[in-house]
Every structure is written in C-alpha cells, then in structure tokens.
C-alpha cells in the first residue's frame, strides 16, 4: 500500500516537471515580452534593458527556466505587478477563499447526487428515474455562470433575500464561519455545485444500476438478505468508481470556479486570475496556475491511493 503510494509519488515527478515547463511557457506565450507589461510604453531603452537584465530576460530560455524553477521551488513566486505584494501572499489568501466555496459546493453536490442516484437506480417507477436523469442532464448542460446571474436576478434583485456579491458584510477582512458570512455563500455554492451534481448523479446512478445487475446481488437475494443489507454490499462495490469521479470533480471545482467567482466577486483564486489577466499581471497568472495545477495533481494522487484502499478488488504494491 505504502509502496504503491510512493511509486505514484515518484511517477508524479516527470509530470510535475512538464507542468512547470508549461506554466513557465505561459509568460512567453504572451504577446510582446513580460517587461512591456511593467514599464510605460514611453520608457527609455536603457531602462527596459536594465529591467530585462534584472529579471534575467536577456538570457537564453533554458537558463531563464532553470532560474525561475529554483526561485519558485524555494517558495518565492515573485511580486505582483498590480499590487506590489508577494505573489505567494496574494495566492495563499485567495486559495483559502476558493477552498471554502469548493467544500460547501462539494458537500451540497455530492450529498444530493448520492441520494438522487441511488433513488433512480432503485426506482421501480420510470417517473422517478426520468426525473433524476433530467436533473442530471440540466446539471451538466446549464451554463453555470448564466445560472449564477439568474440566481442573482431572482434572489437578490427580485426577492432581495440574499446578497448579490462579495464574501461577507465587511469583505476586506476575509472569510469567517458565522451566519452573516454564510448568507453570502448560498448563491455561489448553488451555482458552483451544478456541474458536479449533474456528473455525479449520472455516475452514481449508472454504477449502482450496473452493480444491481451483477450475479452476486442475485446470490445475496437468494440467501434471504433484505434490501438494506444488500445496499451495503452494493455501495461498497460502487464506492471506488464514485470516489474517483468525485475527486476529479472536486479538483475541477477548485480550478474552474473562475466564472462563478467573477459573477459573485468572490475573492478567490479565480477572481484573482481574472483580474491578473486584465492587468497583465503575469507573475500572479503564473503563480495561481502553478498552485492550482499542483493542488490538482496532489488531489488526484490522494484519490488514487484512497481508491485502492477502499476497493478490495485492487491489490497493488
């Protein structure tokens, strides 16, 4: 078990290397060079050259990459061009806000999906199954940033029940767990949970349906077990597949919340990324992307390891 985890960790090294290369390349994809984003267009040539030398942009690309990599690995992500604060500080604060929103959305989406999926798989009537499949279809098809706007229109503009944007009553001080802050989370959580809700409902339903058709279920029935006892066996067998998809969805939620965070002005990584793009703040863009990608990789690894722990059929070592 431990050996498997270790092997997966070692396998992550070349992928992580590739990821760092891609993130490094992001800056060089940008039109013009990174310097032109910092200096005013009428800056004298000597100043531009000096800055280029200071940032190492006058060196060949491989050397620039190595330099960037060593500096980044030591935890220094550079300085934000927009605010002048260290990138690690900016990204760190935003990351926490994103995680808070992701956790609440995952809780909502996965709980609902498991209930709906099981209900549909077990449903005797076609109506229930149809209803659940329709909900799942809406979940995967709805443009979630549009749903966010519709939610704001209904619950903030028309009814005035919930705040339309921000993360709390005094948004400067960061997120806290109290009723006032929770009110601000309701709409973003619902909007963000749509995609995982749709995907997970489909997954749970089809996985359980497939397992219910297996011979061991018939055998358990023949042995005289009741439905509830059998459900336990079914769930055990469905868990690995569902966990894998859940992990992927949770990761996508954290990396893909940019649209929802923009609609609700939720100060998370997505919001940071969006403003960085429009200020052409490349260090922030690079730092945020790198942090999110590494988090996604580690999450995938964790899910993989947990999956082998849960699944009695997989024996790896």
């Amino acid at each position: 078990m431990l050996l498997y985890a270790l092997r997966r960790l070692i396998y992550l090294v070349p992928v992580a290397f590739g990821v760092s290369l891609l993130v490094f390349a992001l800056v060089h994809l940008a039109p013009g060079d990174a310097i032109s984003a910092i200096v005013p267009p009428d800056a004298p040539q000597e100043v531009v050259d000096k800055l280029k030398e200071y940032y190492g942009f006058d060196k060949p690309l491989p050397i620039q990459y190595l330099r960037w990599l060593t500096v980044t690995l030591s935890g220094d992500f550079g300085t934000s061009i927009g605010t002048g604060r260290p990138v690690s500080e900016e990204v760190g604060g935003a990351f926490l806000n994103t995680i808070v929103l992701a956790i609440s959305s995952c809780l909502l989406a996965f709980t609902l999906a498991i209930i709906l999926g099981i209900a549909a798989a077990y449903a005797k009537s076609r109506v229930v199954d149809r209803l659940v499949t329709s909900i799942a279809l809406v979940g995967v098809s709805v443009p979630h940033f549009w749903l966010a706007i519709v939610l704001v229109i209904i619950f903030s503009v028309e009814l005035g029940w919930l705040p339309p944007m921000g993360l709390g009553p005094e948004s400067a001080t960061g997120w806290r767990l109290d009723l006032a802050h929770l009110r601000y989370m309701v709409l973003p959580t619902i909007a963000l949970s749509m995609i995982p809700l749709g995907v997970m409902t489909r997954t749970v339903r089809s996985t359980i349906k497939e397992i219910l058709n297996m011979e061991f279920v018939t055998a358990l029935q023949a042995k005289g077990m009741n439905d509830r006892q059998i459900l336990l066996h079914v769930l055990k067998n469905a868990a690995p597949t569902c966990l894998a998809v859940m992990g992927l969805q949770a990761g996508n939620l954290i990396g893909g919340s940019i649209l929802i965070e923009t609609v609700f002005s939720w100060p998370g990584t997505g919001f940071l990324l969006n403003s960085a793009i429009f200020r052409r703040d490349l260090p922030i863009l690079q730092g945020t992307t790198l942090v999110l990608a590494f988090f996604f990789m580690v999450l995938n690894l964790a899910v993989d390891v947990i999956q082998t722990m849960v699944d009695p059929r997989i024996k790896r070592g």
Binding site: P14, V15, A16, G18, V19, L21, L22, V23, L26, V27, L29, A30, P31, L137, V138, V140, S141, V142, P143, H144, F145, W146, L147, I149, V150, V152, I153, V157, E158, S206, G251, N252, I254, G255, G256, I258, L259, T262, V263, L273, N274, A276, I277, F278, L282, L285, T289, L292, A293, F296, M297, N300
Partner: protein, 302 residues
C-alpha cells in the same frame, strides 16, 4: 468507452461491437434507423438544425441590423414594437443579435472539438496501435495537460495569449486534445488485441491497410461519440471565455459576450439580461441529448 468483446449478434443486431469491414454498411444503416426511431434525438436534432440554419441564413431573414445602435430604444422590454425580443444596452435588436450570435457561439464551440478530434484522434490511434515507446511518449505528454483542471488550462492559456477569437479557439483545441487522445488510445489498444488484427497481419496486410480497414472502422464510433459529448462543454466554455472578456470582442454578437454586457442591466430589465444564456442552455442540452442518443444508437458503452 470500452469495446468489450468482438461479439456479433446475428439476430437483432443489438450487440454489434466489432464488425468485419464488409458488414460496416449494414451497421451504419441500423444506426441511422435507430436514431430515427428515437423521438428525443429527433427533436433535439430539429432544434439544433433550426438554430444552425437561422444563424447561417441570418442576413436573409429580414432581421434588424445587429450592430445598429439607438440611444432612444435602450433596454426595451420583450414585445416592444419593432423590437420583438427587446433591445440591449446600446439599443440593438435582441432577436437579431441572438440569431446572429449563434454564428460565432456555435463556431467557437464546434471548431475546437473538430480540430481536437483530428489531432487527438490521430495521436491516440497512433499511440494505441504502435504501443511501446511511442505510446509512452505521447501519453506522458498528455498526462502533463491532464494535471490541469480543464477550465483553468483554457483560461490560463487564452489569458496569457490575450483576448481574441483565434486565441480562444487555439486554447480550447489544446484543452480537448488530451481527453480525446486518451479515449482513442484506450479503444485502439483494445481493438489491436483482437484476433482479426492478427489474422490480417498473418495474411500479409501492411500496417496502413490494417489501420484503415480493420482498426478505424472499430474505433471511430466510440471516439466520435465521445467527441460529440464534448461539444456542449466546448460551447459553454467558449461562451464562458467570451463572458470573461477573453474571447470574442465587442461589438460582435456572441451569446457569452452578450451575457457579460447585459449584466449591468439586471436591475433594469432582468429577463432581457438572462436571454443569451437561454440560447446557450438550449444548444448545450440538445447537444448532450443528441450525444446520448448517438451513443445508444451506435451501441457504444459509456
């Protein structure tokens, strides 16, 4: 996604998985028949056809000029004379812009999937058929792209390259190549293991002939079905990028961009502000249902 066994059902044709090359015409015939009998797929197909046709023939439909602004008629509600679906924040006709908007929105959603299908499919089939080192190389490169959540990758790429329709297309294509490549690879690897491939090899068929005649016919179905399931994601993602201001630039009519510019109007005319999203929703739901129908008709396991 997985082809299970080369079983051929002689009776009903329900379990045709691995079809010999000579029988492939009958297979596509039965797929078409099954599609025609599926009411959901037919309705979705008709709706999509209407959206596509109206977008294509928009200049000849007698619509108002989608670029013509009017200071007097700004944010008029639905049903205003001369403005059937109201007017936007610059007094442009909404109906006209929604129909014209289909052009760019559909184009920006479908093109990346088609490009990724060509590139990713080619890479995946090559990796799957050749195996060994080539497979290692291609699939490990794909793993790097897989380390990014797809939305993040799309936004970071197009964010770094700067706004514009071409950059969005490029970024989205890059996002969809890895998943299509992975599916193509796994399907091809399975087909390669079938006896008929060995038989063809033993009877002296060259690599290209085997791929063209025996492999392509069996892998194209699953790959195609998977690719169609990506179209709705692509349309939403493309609209999302425009919504962020990264895709199409104003004043072009495009659903995502329209949602963005109308956002300021949610206090004045909320129904109007939500309209472009309805178009995205309808289109993406139709593509998803079509893809499901296609999957069932082609008998591809999900």
């Amino acid at each position: 996604m997985a082809i299970q066994s080369p079983s051929i059902d002689v009776g009903g044709g329900a379990a045709v998985r691995a079809i010999p090359a000579s029988a492939s015409r009958g297979y596509w015939e039965s797929v078409r028949r099954r599609l025609r009998r599926d009411p959901v797929t037919v309705v979705c197909g008709v709706v999509l056809l209407l959206i596509v046709l109206s977008a294509l023939t928009a200049p000849w439909l007698g619509l108002a000029d989608p670029y013509k602004t009017s200071m007097i008629y700004r944010l008029k509600p639905i049903g205003t004379p001369r403005f059937l679906l109201g007017s936007d924040e610059l007094g442009r006709d909404m109906l006209s812009r929604l129909i014209y908007g289909g052009r760019l929105s559909l184009f920006m959603g479908v093109t990346p999937v088609v490009c990724a299908l060509l590139i990713g499919g080619l890479l995946g089939i090559t990796a799957g058929f050749l195996g060994g080192r080539v497979n290692m190389l291609i699939m490990r490169i794909m793993d790097v792209f897989y380390a990014f959540p797809s939305v993040l990758l799309a936004i970071s790429l197009s964010g770094a390259m700067g706004a514009g329709a071409e950059n969005t297309l490029l970024a989205l294509t890059l996002v969809f190549i890895p998943p299509i490549c992975r599916v193509s690879e796994s399907v091809t690897t399975q087909v390669r293991g079938f006896d008929f491939v060995d038989a063809a090899k033993a009877s002296g068929a060259g690599t290209l002939t085997i791929v063209r005649v025996h492999v392509l016919g069996n892998v194209l179905g699953p790959i195609l079905v998977y690719a169609t399931s990506l179209i709705s994601v692509a349309i939403i993602l493309a609209a999302g990028l425009s919504f962020l201001g990264l895709g199409v630039k104003p004043p072009e009519p495009e659903w995502g961009l329209m949602l963005n510019t109308l956002r300021q109007a949610i206090y004045v005319n909320p129904v109007l502000a939500a309209l472009p999203g309805v178009m995205i929703f309808i289109t993406s739901i139709c593509f998803n249902l079509m893809s499901d129908g296609l999957r069932a008709a082609m008998d591809v396991k999900a």
